[in-house]
Symmetry: C2
Subunit: 185 residues, 2 copies
DNA sequence: AAAAATATGTAGACCGATCTATTAAGGATG
DNA sequence: CATCCTTAATAGATCGGTCTACATATTTTT
């Protein structure tokens, strides 16, 4: 893959990512992806011969990886698990509010939309969540209830993000941040 | 409104509700609503002159009310808050699994899809969530942290539902049920 | 009580817009 | 030359929405 090809590919993934995060699978119309990335229609099918599902799948996977890396970064700069959880919630809250309540979880919307229809995409979403669970579990190593806690923390964060986005307020994130310490003992 | 009119109206709402829950706003195509409800196109715009948004709005509101009632019922037959939370999670897990991982939360998908685009629908979703928070808060009356806890519990349940639906497993719901007692003291 | 008038729904053809996907050809680059 | 990539026209399906004609109740009028 040449330089130019790689660049347009990335531009397409970026555009798709933004559109998906704001409104899910159906909001990421190929026309809009093309318009936002500046590339013509045919190029899309050159880079993603599998069509829209391949594009969305790659996009969700990439977004998942990015968030995962951010998670690791926050974890490394936190002294305790409670501090880490607090940093995550604050980070996600900033991101959400700064984007005008557009950028929540890049996986959730697609996951809920296609859970009943597209098996390949469902699997991608499942894998991304599993990778985040793994990252959390690693940070909880040593605790006897690490397996449960990792899932509970992820559920709490995802739920708070959903509520915050729906209410257009970071209040749910703040409330969760205030109470999550209880869970961690 | 005559009897027959009310019946088709309900059939349309039922069809919309099912489609929305399985795949959100865009999955509830008017053609499918028409096909599933057996009513012709014209009837839809007679009962919902506001078009799709009005139909979806009414559907989400109705679904929210139904879940709210189920919540009250479970609350009344539970001795403690912890027992109540457990019953809710088990009830939602049954519902989700029995439906072939189709019936999760009837609000979440729409909320995430249109949060950035449709103000009226966003408001409907926000109101439904607020009503559930109220119901939970009423059950927590007396506790000093009731306001926080209601939101935290709702976030936990919504997040667990999202993960369960994505993984096609009730494991996340079970894990949350196992740990939610810690939150409640 | 019969007939006329009005509301209440039903029915489906039709419209323009938009969607994903395909195609065939040409330009750039090694 | 050959491979990588771009370009744009186009196809065919589906989308939400509008329209007019028709049937069925419900009232009003006589």
């Amino acid at each position: 893959m040449g330089l130019k090809g790689a660049e347009t590919r990335v531009r397409m993934l970026d555009a798709t990512q933004t559109l998906i995060e704001a409104g899910g699978y159906h909001a990421a119309g190929l026309n809009q992806v093309i318009a936002a990335s500046g590339a013509p229609r045919g190029s899309l099918y050159f880079h993603f011969p599998g069509g829209k599902d391949q594009l969305v799948g790659a996009s969700v996977r990439r977004a998942g990886g990015m968030i995962g890396e951010a998670l690791e970064g926050l974890a490394d700069s936190s002294a305790s698990v409670a501090e880490f959880a607090d940093a995550v919630l604050r980070h996600l809250g900033d991101r959400l509010e700064e984007s005008g309540w557009r950028k929540g979880c890049p996986v959730a919307t697609v996951a809920l939309e296609i859970a009943a229809t597209s098996d390949p995409l469902q699997e991608v979403c499942s894998e991304v969540y599993a990778s985040w669970e793994d990252a959390l579990r690693a940070r909880l190593a040593g605790r006897p209830d690490a397996d449960d806690l990792a899932v509970v923390i992820l559920a709490l964060v995802e739920g708070a993000l959903l509520l915050a986005r729906t209410h257009r307020s970071r209040e749910p994130l703040d409330r969760v941040a205030r109470r999550i310490g209880v869970l961690l003992g």
